[in-house]
Symmetry: C3
Subunit: 211 residues, 3 copies
């Protein structure tokens, strides 16, 4: 039933983990951390969101404890990043596309996992977004940055995840099969995010001065 | 048995959540975050403490997953804050009083939840304080501040929560009914906090210089 | 079966908690936090790693909730630190040796707990390291520092924990009794860490400049 059991989706899920791991490793490199810091940031960025989801939903086992393949993929991605950066430039655009795909998969698959645990609709939406964005938030906290996804300089990110999860849920209430609805949801997240990056679509900032 | 099942207490509990959500939204505004940041900070500030408590106690379900009303209240509070700030000044004193009430309710009700889970006395005390203050700590970490409750410039906050929880537990050992003891505990937390704000009662700072 | 049930090991475990609590209290003092901040940092530094391990492994009860002795030891260590610092210099070298011992005990005992929960080998390794280092990471995040263990200026720390846990697992596959293997693992962690401090053995930094 869960999409992650399908070989193609599982492969994409691992790709999403790898991309987020690279993003964590690069963030560590921008701060000049050592190799332990690189691996640690790769780990928290890529599995932080899903871990928080599984802990909050009180699932029987956190996903990477049940299936340690994820840890090996992350370690591989961190090592590849360290080696790659020594010889070649960072392919920023390829990473941005892969990140959008990772966000898309994580948020829609995360929502499905919450559904399978019997969560109410609003909790399903929250868990979908959380799965997609929480890893990046933990990454930013560890390197002492205000989380990227909260900043008005960042193009739609959580909002793209929200849109895709809503699309998925809406299509399902219209009797579209879950797997088809998920594919549309995933495409919408990635499309929204990439469109926002291309046309620089951002959310307004909120300013308060409290005495 | 749990006080939160009483309509009046449940209403106060939701009020506490709303006030803490406003505090999170305002903190986001002081850092110029975007709307996603505002909602996210409103969420973590208001339910962070209770969520940590529920996860640590390994409760069957985190409170806002069992009852998503909390999420709607938070979303409403965040939207009202964004709109209000555009037109009117922030009612700092009203917020401070409501925050003291929120702290009072969260800490005493949090202690009761730990009791219901069969925790030992010292764990009940820790969980009470944690429920009251952890959300604000997570808020401060996300906006890159040293947590307000750890700073010597902040009037008694955790100590007020501690006092109220101890008062509640003490009255109960004196055979006072739990609900009466809770009301006294709640009043003591709010009273201690507001007195500390009015008379600027603070804890000493601790200074170390390590080579 | 668990080593922590042996009186000597339990005593060492409590010593490790006390040392990590002192490290947290001193970090609070370096930032000039108030007494609440001192106690809070002592708590998260000393039980943060084990708590994260227990939550991720979905154990029946977090260790300090099952046995609140830990909380009293932490409170005592925080008070002793506050009083000591007022009159005497900080014994930096004694603390460093005790910290290495704490790291050693936490990581090997943490790995054993993960084993007892039936985790796979790679998860056992991750949980061992996590138990040893996560508390310090949370401490550093709370005082707004990039975690010490991620910085290239810090001598081998996570790597020492990794080495000891691997040694423990390797000896066990060679049919060495678990308790003997654990003692060798613990000695290796402490030895590696202290050797790294003495000879300033560090991991290379990783630098990236992303546009």
């Amino acid at each position: 039933m869960a999409l992650t059991e399908l070989p193609l989706i599982h492969a994409f899920d691992l790709l999403g983990v790898a991309v987020f791991a690279i993003s964590g490793a690069l963030a560590a490199g921008q701060k000049g951390l050592d190799w332990v810091g690189v691996v640690a940031l790769a780990v928290v960025t890529s599995i932080g969101g899903g871990t928080l989801r599984d802990v909050l939903l009180n699932r029987d086992a956190v996903f990477w404890i049940a299936d340690p393949t994820y840890l090996w993929v992350i370690l591989g991605a961190a090592v590849v990043t360290i080696v790659h950066v020594r010889f070649l430039p960072v392919p920023a655009n390829a990473l941005r596309i892969a990140d959008a795909l990772g966000l898309a998969l994580f948020s829609v698959l995360g929502a499905q996992i919450a559904e399978a645990e019997g969560a109410s609709v609003v909790v399903v939406i929250v868990m979908g977004i959380l799965t997609g964005v929480a890893g990046g938030i933990i990454r930013d906290v560890l390197i002492r940055e205000v989380p990227l996804v909260f900043r008005p300089t960042e193009e739609l990110y959580s909002v793209a995840a929200l849109g895709g999860v809503l699309c998925y849920l809406l299509l399902k209430t219209l009797a579209v099969p879950a797997s088809v609805a998920a594919i549309f949801g995933i495409m919408l997240v990635a499309g929204l995010r990439l469109a926002a990056v291309i046309w620089k679509i951002r959310l307004p900032a909120f300013h308060v001065s409290v005495d």
